[in-house]
Point group: C2
Chain length 261, copies 2
Amino acid sequence: MTGTVYLVGAGPGAPDLLTLRAARLLERADVLFHDALVHPGTLALAKRAEKIAVGKRCGRHSTAQRFINKRLIDAARRHTTIVRLKGGDPMLFGRASEEIAALEAAEIRYEIVPGVTAALAASAEMGISLTQRGLARSVAFATPRIGHGAGPSNWATAIAAADTGAIYMGAGQAREIADALRAAGVPTSTPIALVENASLAHSRSFVITLEELPELASEAFTGPVVMLIGAQFAVAAAAAGGRELQIHSPASQRPLATASK
Amino acid sequence: MTGTVYLVGAGPGAPDLLTLRAARLLERADVLFHDALVHPGTLALAKRAEKIAVGKRCGRHSTAQRFINKRLIDAARRHTTIVRLKGGDPMLFGRASEEIAALEAAEIRYEIVPGVTAALAASAEMGISLTQRGLARSVAFATPRIGHGAGPSNWATAIAAADTGAIYMGAGQAREIADALRAAGVPTSTPIALVENASLAHSRSFVITLEELPELASEAFTGPVVMLIGAQFAVAAAAAGGRELQIHSPASQRPLATASK
């Protein structure tokens, strides 16, 4: 007899942006494997679980994926409810496919619980929709991060072809991203909104243009950053006078904050 | 004194895929404006609210957006907590931008609460990740639906340029979608997974190829359909012998079901 492994999206950060299903699974989990960036308030819901950090944090101190797979399988052979909690959604930049393949090969039952992905929280925080009726009807989500042994990617072409773009895990590569987007034909005047720690009390937002993006290479980001690209973000920049931006944050109920470079 | 309007994502359908924040807001809402497709179990959380259906259902019987905007503003002038509940996420094909613009013009306070978008639930249900390490690093979300007065869109180009595509609100336009994707250079052998009513007990899944997509024009879909496009969906088709597909559905705890055309 083996247990079930639940690959669960933890959402963008704020503990109350977890789904009801995820919260209930955490409450009855025997073992919880979680990414480094999952909020302590979210982990606290797993009252009875043995908690094991296996997380990746910008590529540093990461537990090898193969080792995570093995631990999930071992846990499923000893326990009933195993939760693998991943930042955002498991199926969008969550490396779920490798864990699914390992679980299927080991004939372990699994279920996926979707979550709120970071770009949606960033868009909510800015109050600017990724889609705009009649103007933005396609949105590309991409990451410039490359796995070991992976070949070149068309990620910048995908961003350029869509009306709106969302770049994940690009904080440390501002210069390379700017070069790739320019090469893919994105005009240098295109507005880019950067949201760090979307949905959390200490989130920061910037609105710049593609031309200014390389300047961010020197910016010290400590949390996850989402870059949103599209004409609609010019409104935020213009409304707030340059790079200043009002952000809405129901999580913290803080007064309207301004973030500037 | 005016109240606050919360533009809230209801998630893909299953009531337990609502976020904790959304559930708490529903519980204290004075007035609830909701789309037609929101699950009765989700609406039931709004115990004390006056409930008003303003939803669009495949374009039929829809309340004009301008009238919805006016009702939101009127409600904010009479009540404290107004929830505008939208299927999926408000900022991705949710027409939030029009309501935000109206609320800002009327100086009504608002907050956005993100939700789980349908493509992530569809991906979870199939057990196949939208991104695949080293293989699929970009995902385009698009809709072929056109607003009144909107010009032609590059939505098919955006889907073709990304490694993985997700098409929303395309159920009634299978033939037109197939033509547009072929014209944009998507090979006719490309696998397409269709998930109707993702996350609900009565969901259905199909795995076909782009070549077979026009045949679906005669299929009667009654719920929302997401089309997922990408090489990774061939695995599902091959593994299950043609068009049959095993789907995982933690919502209903039903045995592994097979759906075939």
